[in-house]
């Protein structure tokens, strides 16, 4: 375990050394701390009417009030807690399922692979959003944020699973895997100690993109009214901005603030993924030194 955790720390450190990765990590850190510190930072309770409806941003209400007279800043800070934690949870869950199924399929091969790959392809081809709508709308009281996260995780792990399977297939060919088997190590140990560590960058990439997908999808679903309208999340903020026609009557801040938070979260995670991608495949880098090296080789015009 100690080995795995130091491996993880070095990995995070190398993302940190990457310029895009560092911006992403800092942005993410900012968003997470704003959400964690919501009870300290929020000037008003998020769910109460605390001012004149649709007050523009000003000293009294830094980011204005909603059409119902709730404080936008407080709602956004508290909303981040739910939106982010639910997204990370769903991303983690999806990656875990993908890891177990993908690695098992790639490692064992044969009929196990056939069955699992068939299952992954099936989940992949079923339209996730349409499926989520069927499940969520059959719940009598609407779906809470956690329920939405579970459904998103259950419908979104398949593409990660396919990537992990493909990578496992290539790792499995290596000689030290055969060596480990010959020495008599059990299957679970070979997978856990020899295969999974070789998938670190892919797993990180899957987790980052999975979390990104979950956060934005949850917000989108809540925006169209699938979630629990009483919950305080960024998606529900957007829902209220739409249903109360805040935009038409000029309350742009009610839309803009949660939108910026969702955009910033997406940007942070995408930047981190950029870094992971470029670290594992340096050819993808768009840095000037790369071009310089190429010009010396005389390849580029």
């Amino acid at each position: 375990m100690a080995e795995a955790s130091t491996g993880f720390i070095t990995f995070v450190r190398s993302i940190w050394r990457h310029p895009k990765g560092r911006i992403g990590l800092l942005l993410l850190l900012l968003l997470v701390s704003l959400s964690i510190l919501a009870p300290v930072l929020a000037p008003y309770p998020p769910d109460r009417v605390v001012g004149v409806p649709l007050t523009p941003p000003g000293l009294e209400h830094l980011l204005g009030t909603t059409r119902l007279g709730k404080d936008v800043l407080s709602q956004t800070l508290y909303g981040g807690r739910v939106s982010l934690s639910v997204g990370f949870f769903a991303g983690l869950l999806a990656t875990a399922v993908a890891l177990v199924i993908g690695v098992a399929a790639g490692y064992f091969g044969g009929w196990i692979d056939e069955c699992l790959t068939f299952f992954m392809n099936l989940v992949l081809v079923l339209p996730a959003i349409a499926l989520i709508i069927v499940i969520a709308s059959s719940l009598e009281s609407g779906a809470g944020p956690l329920m939405i996260a579970l459904i998103i995780a259950a419908t979104s792990w398949a593409w990660e699973g396919r990537l992990l399977r493909a990578q496992t297939l290539s790792v499995r060919q290596r000689e030290y895997i055969t060596a480990a088997r010959v020495v008599g190590e059990p299957h679970w140990r070979v997978m856990l100690m020899h295969i999974v560590p070789n998938l670190t960058s892919l797993i990180t990439s899957c987790f980052v993109l999975g979390t990104l997908y979950c956060i934005v999808t949850e917000a989108g679903l809540e925006f169209i009214g699938i979630g629990d309208p009483q919950a305080i999340t960024w998606g529900v903020q957007l829902l209220h901005a739409r249903t109360s026609n805040a935009l038409i009557v000029g309350g742009w801040w009610e839309l803009l603030v949660p939108s910026v938070m969702i955009l910033a979260t997406g940007a942070a995670l995408a930047l981190i993924n950029f870094a992971v991608d470029e670290m594992s495949n340096p050819r993808l880098q768009a840095h000037r030194y790369w071009v310089g090296a190429q010009k010396q080789g005389g390849e580029e015009p």
Partner: protein, 325 residues
Amino acid sequence: MKFLLRRALFYLVALWTAASINFIVPRLMPGDPATRMFNRAKGKMSPEALEGLKRAFGFTDGNLWDQYLTYITQLLQGELGISMMFFPEPVADKLLYATWWTLLLAGSATLLSFALGTLMGAIAAWRRGGRFDLWGTQLAVLLQSTTPAVVALLLFWGFAVEWQLFPLGRAYNIYLSPGLNWAFIGSVLYYAALPVLSIVVISIGQWHFSMRNNMINLLDEDYLLLARAKGLSERRILTQYAARNAILPNLNAFAMSVGLVLAGSLFTEVVFNYPGLGLFVLKAIQARDYAFIQGQLLFVTLGVLISNFLGDLLNLALDPRLRVD
């Protein structure tokens, strides 16, 4: 042929899975959707209609297996039940109407973003490290990393509410009567512009990014060096040699992307009040019109499967290895 047969079989199983999910999910919840819809209709619905609805959901007397058989038989006859929000019209008719608008929106947005994104990706890879690659690629990917709802809302706010350049919603000017005349077609295009733009903004990054990465991985290949040594023009090498091979995975992903585009179209339609599947689904959720909600899953699944099948055919045409039995 064997390849196509395998795929077709797989798609049938997928469709059957979607239908079975529609059967199972309501049974995990208390009560049955037909009776709930009947109660909400408050006398609008006749007891015969309730019976029909129960058959469509498979909530008949008898054990679970009999219920399932009833449900599947009804489905095979194209019986999706009666819509409650458009009572007494059948669900299938309304779904078909909405599908045309969604196809217009999602179809044109997909083609547009595929063409633009692939072109941009090719240019970015060709001039790797240039200004366009540095900023364009990152911008494209960042725009992709959000929900279509946010992009559509922001465009709606800017172009429709603040600057009033585009209409606030609907699919065409309601004072025009639908028909094949220029005024009507122009109005349809004008009303579709913003919704299409929001889907394009979201999905262009995917094509840009994958085209760029595919092509960068090809740039060091020997056959490109040979093409250069032959003295071919850069333009010809780019289009006929590098891009031609790099586009194959993109074409593959094109069919797979239909599900995502349909989802994107759903959020966009809600924002722009566009009468496609997404808006109807939203109304169905509010009205608890379960028959419609179940119908949309089958329709969207069918759409995804058909486009996947077309993708397979395309693959078969492009990749001779698949034609070997």
